[in-house]
Amino acid sequence: MTDNQPSTDDRVSEWSQLRTDGDVSRGGAVLSQAELQDSYPDWREQIVHTERVPSQSADVTPAEAVVCDELATGLPHDLYAHQATALELLANDENVVITTSTSSGKTLIYQLQMARNYLADEASTALCLYPTKALTSDQEQALNDTFRQELDLDVTVGVYDGDTKPERKRRLRENANTILTNPAGLNVYLPRHNKDRGWHRFYNNLELVVIDEAHEYSGVMGTHVAWILRRLRRILNYYDADPQFVMTTATIGNPADHAQRLTGLEHTVVDTDGSPQGSRDIVLWEPPLDESAQSDAADPGQRQADFEAARRSSASEAATVTAHLAMNEMQTLQFTTARQGTEIGAKQTVTAAQDHPLDRFISVEPYHAGLGKKKRRGVEDQLKRAKVDAVISTNALELGIDIGSVDATVTDSYPGTKQSFWQQVGRAGRGTSDALSVLVGGSDAMDAYILEHPGYLFDDDTVEDAVVSVDNDRVFADHLLAAAAERPLTLSDAAYFGGETRFTELVSMWQDAGVLEQTGSLAANGVLYTGDRRPQSRISLYGTTGTEYEVVCDGGEIDHDPVAKERAYREYHQGAIFLHAGQQYRVTEIDHNSYHPQIHVEQISTTQYTQTTSNKQIRNLTVRDHRPLANGIDLYFGSGTVLITYNEYLIRDYQTGEVVDGPLPTGDPPLELHTELMWVALPENHLQHTLAAMDAPLLEPAEGVNSGTHLSDEPKRYTYGGGIHAAEHGIIQLAPLELMIDNSDIGGLSTTRHRHETIPGPTWFIHDGIDGGIGFSKAIYENIDTLAARTRDHIADCGCGRRGCPLCIMSEDCGNRNDPLDSLTGTMILEDLLVALEQAE
């Protein structure tokens, strides 16, 4: 797979040439060909790419040019370009969305705006939203420090959330200038606006709303936040307040869009980063693949096992890299998503160190959110004071918490989004010295793609789009009830709530159901809420149906967010093994029928993991959008019912890849999803047409495999079926490269025949895995041109053989155990689709 890449030596010398001061960076030295050949255990030319991100000096503007003297004198330094731009836009009464990197000083922007507002009117107030409580309390500290010490202003700042005592809450409501909270909190505090003293003052004087780390609000959470913000704006309108909005996000492809969808307001984008950056070396590292991994086994389960056994798991490879760096006196922070958690990762690192030619002792600590507070503080402290050589962590240390900086980071398996990746990389680099980051590729199609196309990470024009949608009527309907409880609904509210048609239709629906006043009139004194009290308390931010499963640990504790129903069925069936915050658990019991359903788990320590298979049926299709292409191919987007039964699971060992037990029954009833989906409808004769054009033999079904599938064993149908199956998998696997979606929240189904008027021949579906849909399959439908092209290239270029491998089309979540799969036919089908897309224009 790396035939066309320059040798390591060439790349490293490129490295040294790029440095202008003539000195070889330490990272360069430690990871040079010579050094690695010498001292790296089992060196097999794993480096596939290195990238030097050059340093960048600050682009500044004197503070006096932007803010008044009173504020400028307090600031210890000039403003960066993006800070200046943002503040000028804000002075012009605009809303801004700022997408510069972490630690580029985004907080100062909104803090100075708060200061300006305060100087103009001491009664002015600001509301700041953060996605996590940890971030909220960090920011409270930061804001207070700057106001007191640098700006010398008596601005009262306070956190208002579940941990705040009632007495303090009252004082904040009645006196604070700035209140910090999180969306779940705002959801339940907003209805108190006319009941708790102080909100009236606060909202009346609101001049600024800050939404921090807004890229976190996508998918299901994003939908809820979008509605909570609309409810807020509507209440603010009642209080005659019209604040400006400041949103900060990580780098995403569509910041203006995202801001608009979350808030309903237009924002101007500020994206050119003026803050200084040290230079960085980023190394892409590919774990070696034994020849024996090129399995010829017909049984895909066996192929997967062979593959996993042969390939050094990225985790143990990452451990070796970490050990090598630490042995060479570079304090290293490793981020891992591996199955076995951080404890085992730490042990692996110690073992690797023991096997290392250099004779040194290194100290290694694991870190994850499940450790006690004291232990975590201890590790953070050790990092800050350089008292530990290596820390193996989950993404808990990605942002917010201050640990100083380390010399190097190692990322074990691509974390799924660019934001995550760059946030991890950002932890490396002390002061002006160079930073080194290594990405060790995991056994996943995305990882393979990135290692093959490093430009994906480093080119500016491949940034994922955030996906958030307010189309789900079920979620909207719930928030409409919450809004009605906040104030009676009137026709003027339609501007905030979906426009007149959607608003009046849903109001009528609820009136007919008796939870909104039946005789109430939107035109008269409004429509009042008449359902059970506190509807907002029954809105779950984790799902679309209000049903939340609580995760309870028998004989222990677990701090786990509530689980939405769809996810509970998929990942938390009885017997499922999962990793959370660095610790392994097994589900002992799950009760779907109780009014407050619970998932019971127990702590375990094991080398096993589980894989669930499912049966799927799609019915009741309704078309909402249709894009006819050339050559008889059509694209559709719409809604339907997806019936999924997660019926069986296998227990595998991650060290050997073998099946230890199973298939075992899960005992779960079917899950019925009413959701959104897209489908590619191919012409009736596409099977014959494709196979006729194929100049390779047909695939033969393996013996005794998959006796339960609806796909035929007949070689032609089997082969072609493998093709559309491969196309479906490929697009799902690679969609996250383009869109910020969690591909465990989407699913697919491919079939040679489906009874529906829009489907004359074979087809494949991609659907949202959440009831009511949250915009994922819609985003895929809208971006199909890019996705299909990218997928086709990746499948065609994977050198693994027709039946595919985990790096291209095999998926762990396949309900059909990855059978049949044929990358050759799949490539042909995708090519037909691409041609049809092109000719349609």
Partner: protein
């Protein structure tokens, strides 16, 4: 209206005989809800589901039936066929089961002018001749018969299971299913304005009007049971509470849910499942028995310390003797109180169209009405604050559950319409008597009455309303319907019975004054009951 928030979980609703239509166009006027005639005796039904009766302790079921004293029980919800067997032998109230049997069963509620008829199984015929009628109340010894024609003069209350609601958010529609089946089953004599239609497959308190093409008579249906549809965030979900349904001969229906956890010992604050078990084991099964237990015995029981025993005992005494009992030291505001009660258009209201004020004691006090002078008018708010800060300046303003309702609503209304009055209103001593009695410092007194609602407490203390058959919800619905008509068809908007609504409001402030008088008595007694403090303190007078 002064429904305290979630105190006992009972979700007060009222149904009515108006055309609160599922399919009413937003621009059509609606009929005002009909009020039952004052002083009419209704038929009282208690709805129970099989799931409820099997989950509750036998004493609780008995206590429920005793408290409500229904004429008949109606089996609803899941496992409705378990209700009759569970109740038989424990109480002699007949149990009606709609949707079962071959023939309609009629229960002639003597004295109310209402006969409740439960419809038989689907597919069987419903004719007036086939109804088997059992008289309830009056001479019990009569046997069921279908010869007795006296029931024909009664108003009929039909109870059926045909209808169901289906909420479909993705289609943005709520549909009512089973309408045709139901309509076709009904004999013509049962489709009059005086007929009440109850559905056990619709949520208790839900009301709707059945479309009746070609007929001028509306068929209004009231839900008394449980619905299978998903109401999203609008419903607490879970098992349904029993409901008390009162049916009047003019077709008016009221539905109020009742929380079993307020019945008997379980309803005493401080007695949860464990302590309940302990008491039962010790042979104490009723509130009266608890009130008669000696304190030392009580505090000896497992799980009862001295403080808890005293508290629990005091609460039981209050309930058993229908009096207010002292719990912890506290004092009421000084000065002659001004009692208020507001009427709005709902619990999250857009307006407070009536502020009822009582100046003086419960009997002789003067009732003042500050009411909107035109639909949606606000000058009465101005008048209220002017009076409050003028003639009534410096006096405490007392409301029941004022902190959660009356006071914030008035504040919000003033902020919106008379912001110049907000400061003066804020300066008034706003006193929530309910909060003082029940919440402050753990509660200063133990109140009588099954729940802490204004009406329950006052009734237990001997207060009697002058107008019956009306409650806060009805008033709000009446007003909302009126306002809608004013907006949609102003020339023809029929006026509600304002006198009756005012009478209800006046009743409430007098009820409040009644309770307050008892609170004052208790705090005075409490003060004088501590003579040692008094005698120890000298007073200045002693030394001059």
């Amino acid at each position: 209206m002064s429904e305290p928030a979630g105190m006992d979980g009972s979700h007060s609703e009222s149904g009515h005989n108006a055309s609160s239509a599922v399919t009413t166009d937003a621009s059509d006027p609606v009929t005002l809800p009909a009020l039952p005639p004052p002083d009419a005796t209704p038929a009282t039904l208690l709805t129970l589901s099989g799931a409820t009766v099997s989950q509750l302790r036998p004493e609780t079921v008995r206590g429920l039936v005793e408290t409500v004293a229904p004429d008949i029980v109606l089996a609803v919800g899941t496992q409705s066929n378990a209700v009759a067997p569970t109740l038989s032998g424990r109480c002699d109230v007949p149990v009606g089961e709609p949707g079962t049997g071959q023939r309609p069963q009629g229960y002639r509620i003597v004295g109310s002018g209402v006969t409740v008829v439960t419809l038989p199984m689907r597919g069987t015929e419903v004719q007036t001749e086939r109804v088997v009628v059992t008289p309830v109340g009056g001479e019990r010894s009569q046997n069921p018969t279908n010869d007795d024609p006296t029931w024909r003069a009664d108003a009929v209350c039909v109870a059926g299971t045909e209808l169901s609601l289906d909420v479909k958010p993705y289609a943005r529609k709520t549909s009512l299913d089973g309408v045709d089946a139901y309509r076709q089953r009904l004999p013509e004599p049962w489709v009059t304005d005086a007929t009440a239609h109850l559905s056990t497959s619709l949520r208790a308190g839900f009301t709707t009007s059945l479309p009746t093409p070609g007929s001028t008579t509306a068929v209004d249906v009231v839900g008394v049971g449980q619905s299978a549809t998903d109401l999203g965030a609008g419903s607490r979900g879970g098992s349904i509470d029993p409901a008390v349904v009162t049916v009047y001969a003019n077709g008016a229906v009221a539905v109020n849910t009742i929380d079993p956890a307020t019945i008997g010992l379980r309803g005493i604050r401080g007695i949860g499942q464990r302590r309940l078990q302990t008491l039962t084991d010790a042979g104490i099964t009723t509130v009266k028995e608890l009130a008669e237990t000696r304190l030392p015995e009580l505090s000896d029981l497992q799980g009862f310390g001295r403080t808890t025993a005293r508290e629990v005992y005091t609460r039981a005494s209050a309930q058993a003797s229908d009096t207010v009992q002292h719990l912890s030291t506290g004092s009421l505001p000084r000065g002659e109180p001004v009692f208020i009660d507001i009427e709005t258009d709902g619990l999250n209201p857009s307006t407070a169209w009536l502020i009822g004020v009582l100046d003086g004691g419960p009997e002789e006090g003067r009732y003042l009405s500050f009411r909107e002078e035109e639909p949606g008018g606000t000058s009465h708010l101005d008048a209220f604050v002017t009076w409050l800060t003028g003639p009534a300046a410096g006096r405490p303003v007392v409301a029941w559950n004022g902190h959660n309702f009356d006071f914030p609503v008035i504040t919000e209304q003033l902020q919106a319409h008379y912001p110049e009055h907000v400061a003066a209103w804020d300066d008034c001593y706003q006193f929530d008597a309910y909060w003082w009695a029940v919440k402050d410092d753990g509660g200063h007194v133990a109140l009588p009455g099954r729940t802490n609602t204004l009406e329950d407490v006052a009734t237990a203390l001997g207060w009697e309303p002058t107008t019956t058959g009306i409650d806060g919800e009805t008033v709000a619905e009446m007003y909302t319907a009126y306002r809608r008509n004013c907006a949609v068809a102003p020339e023809n908007a029929p006026e509600p019975e304002w006198d009756r609504l005012e009478a209800y409001c006046e009743d409430d402030v007098r009820a409040l004054a009644t309770i307050y008088a008892h609170l004052a008595d208790v705090t005075r007694r409490d003060a004088t009951d501590q003579p040692q403090n008094r005698s120890m303190q000298g007073s200045l007078a002693d030394f001059t």
